[in-house]
């Protein structure tokens, strides 16, 4: 059943991006491209050929595949059913290190193209990913402190409903902090604007300028999967433990869908922050996460 849930998660990932886009279209008064647009795009791209930059090497060729593989591996260890499987073994740090490995390949691939724009995108990517690390690990430390479990599934779902109520303030603070991570890592407003796709304001997508065909399909699918994963992390971290199995998975997917809709609303009503202010916002988020730890320790 665990494996079934993982497959389900992998299949559903592009749907959530569709939900975000439909929500945005609804707010803008458009019809929108439809929930399943990304599936169509991916299928279309998979049938095309891979163009390569003139001076690229084998690193460019493997970059998107390796990057997607890392995200899929992270999906495979996530406790979609609330526990069991690999997730009860590995510490949560492994999960984020897998995502980091994927990022490394994307960055290397971008640098291999040798274009100024991709260099810029890669530079921003490593900058912000380095800055969100402390937030992620403060939140992780907080979860370990809260649940007394260092494994991924234990840290995420070990909060009983009774103790949930007592810790809700600290949890809310941790949620806010990780929300910043979620929005930044998925290049969403207010940190980045996916509407300006492939433009110079972009953090992530500027790295994909010279990627096409199946590689681009991998990259898009990887981004969708990452969106789903971090949303799932956010949801599972915040919600109290409500049993395991299908029920858990179902609640998770509904919650992720809701979060996607909320993301769409946020994108519709907010403007992007000034780019240079992003590190400051991230520092604020890190301090909020530290406040969560503080409140939990002192209570």
């Amino acid at each position: 059943m665990n494996i079934l849930c993982i497959i389900l998660a992998a299949v559903m990932a592009p749907l959530f991006i569709g939900i975000v886009n439909q929500t945005k279209a609804f707010f803008a008064g458009r019809r929108g491209p439809g929930m399943f647009r990304l599936y169509v795009d991916i299928c279309k791209l998979l049938r095309k050929s891979c163009p390569r930059p003139r001076h690229s090497t084998w690193l460019f060729d493997i970059a998107q595949s390796a990057s997607l593989a890392a995200v899929i591996a992270a999906t495979a260890v996530f406790p979609w059913t609330g526990g069991g499987g690999l997730s009860s073994f590995i510490p949560a740090a492994v999960f984020f290190y897998l995502l980091a490995a994927g990022r490394f390949f994307t960055v290397i691939g971008a640098l291999d193209a040798g274009s100024a724009f991709e260099g810029m995108g890669a530079s921003r990517e490593v900058q912000f990913s380095a800055l969100v690390e402390p937030i992620i690990f403060t939140v992780l430390g907080f979860l370990v402190l809260l649940t007394g479990d260092i494994s991924l599934s234990g840290a995420l779902s070990g909060i009983a409903p009774e103790s949930w109520k007592a810790n809700v303030i600290a949890l809310v603070l941790a949620f806010i902090a990780f929300l910043a991570v979620f929005l930044l890592e998925n290049c969403r407003v207010p940190f980045d604007d996916p509407e300006t796709h492939l433009e110079l304001t972009m953090i992530h997508e500027a790295m994909l300028l010279d990627v096409g065909g199946p590689d681009l399909a991998f990259a898009l699918y990887g981004a969708a999967l990452k969106f789903e994963l971090l949303a799932a992390f956010l949801v599972m971290m915040f919600m109290p433990c409500f049993g395991q199995g299908w029920k858990h998975a179902a609640v998770m997917f509904i919650a992720i869908a809701l979060l996607s809709a909320v993301t769409g609303v946020v994108e519709s009503v907010m403007a992007r922050f000034r780019f240079l202010k992003t590190p400051h916002t991230l520092m604020g988020a890190a301090l909020v996460a530290a406040l969560a730890v503080l409140i939990h320790v002192c209570f």
């Binding site: 809700v168 303030i169 603070l173 604020g284 530290a290 406040l291 503080l294 002192c298």
Partner: protein, 233 residues
Amino acid sequence: MLTISEIAMALFLIADLALAGASRLKYAISLVAVQGWIVGTLPVFLWDWQSGGCPGARIWIIALVNSLVKGAALPMLLNYAVRKARTRRELEPIVSFQISRIVVFLMAVGGFAVGRLLHIHETTASELAVPVAFTTMGTGCLLICARKKAITQVLGFLVLENGISLFGAGILLEYGLVVELGILLDVFALVFILGIAIFQINRTFASTDTDRLNRLGDTHLMHPHHKHDHVHD
């Protein structure tokens, strides 16, 4: 145990952090207003509804006055002063926003440490009240000391006052509020006077930068680097 008051305290803490990092005057003023509303309505939430029954008229009146003055009247006055004084709508920091935020966080750490040392958990209505109150007072002091504009000093006083009333409301519900009303009156007067003063100073000197106001004293010989600043009539 989770109550609304504790959520309010957490909001208060975030507002403190946000205030330390706020770079726009309008934003800072609305943050102070939010704090004012929270502090004003807090007595109602802290009231022990189960054993105390419905609170008396005094609590209601105090809550109403408090929140109206702090959440509506004073912020409106400040906004008015900003508009009239036509100052640049940005806070000019002496200590950078980043460091200010870290300082506020450290104050929170210190506040929690002090809150633990004081052992007044039993008497307080909310466990978070004391540390949050300390943090807020510290934030107020920081705003007073580490920002250039005169209007920020007013803002700082308001935040300081919010901290004090939080302390009062959190610890001694009944008597605290009376004292608290007295302080509120003081601050109200202070803000009023400062608000008018800023407006007047601005009309006279075209600037409310405290760096330049320093020149009004006879100490300007000690600040040779201010020689170039012209005080316009």
